[in-house]
Amino acid sequence: MTVGELAEKLGLEIMSCGSRALNTAVTGVYSCDLISHAMAKLNPGNVWITVHTNLNVAAVASLAEASCVLVPENIEISGQTLERAEEKEVIFLSGGKSAARFCYEILSLLESPS
């Protein structure tokens, strides 16, 4: 599954770097709002779900090679962060549900026999 397919299936809005969405593969999902945990535990290709929308999120997502950052509960993402995300080629997604709900839905998609 690609980030583009994930966005479509879950009705998520692609906020940055949409051009990469169709050729970036999703390998799993990791949810934590502590930067040190995310940095150490994110595996390449993971969706990172976090309520943080500051500039550091783009830097960490890029360093940890997350497939994308998913910001839940329609939390606003500043223009400055999205600009940085474009520079760092990080896809930001936005959606209305909670982090827990998104984890469940993403794992269900990844684990369902396609």
């Binding site: 930067i35 040190s36 150490a40 550091n56």
Partner: protein, 142 residues
């Protein structure tokens, strides 16, 4: 063969618009050199944590990096307040980060323990009111 790549970076204090840029640049270099993804990941984790510590605790500093075919050596130094009790600081969960820093997701107190876990050699020199120097080595074949 036998070539050593050397890089130096400035790490500005409390500037989160560039925090992580040194680590990001080093990650790119290692990837271009064909270093294994596992070693790139360990280096990124260790260097990012040390870089962020210099930004938020050390009033900024600098990074010096040497890469050869077998390993990367990273030295991150600052002239900040130093660490009073290094053993305590190394413990998971110990943090003196203020609320303003915690609000950004930092201050989990996992930085130094993550550096330890993801490096092969670690030496920290610190002196109160003089500063802190973190020396990290990651071997590529591990």
């Amino acid at each position: 063969m036998g070539n050593v790549v050397v890089r130096d970076y400035m790490i500005p204090a409390n500037d989160f618009t560039v925090a992580g840029e040194a680590s990001s640049s080093v990650r790119k270099i290692l990837t271009q050199l064909g270093v294994t993804p596992h070693a790139v990941k360990r280096t990124s984790i260790a260097m990012y944590e040390a870089e962020i510590n210099a930004v938020i605790h050390g009033h900024g500093g600098k990074a010096h990096v040497e890469i050869d075919e077998n390993k990367i050596f990273i030295q991150i130094s600052d002239e900040g307040p130093g660490i009073a009790d290094l053993e305590l600081a190394m413990q998971e969960g110990y943090s003196t980060a203020p609320d303003s820093i915690r609000e950004m997701g930092f201050g989990a107190g996992m930085g130094l323990s993550n550096i330890k876990k993801h490096s092969d050699l670690l030496k920290i020199d610190t002196e109160i009111n003089r500063g802190t120097t973190v020396n990290i080595t990651v071997f590529f074949n591990k």
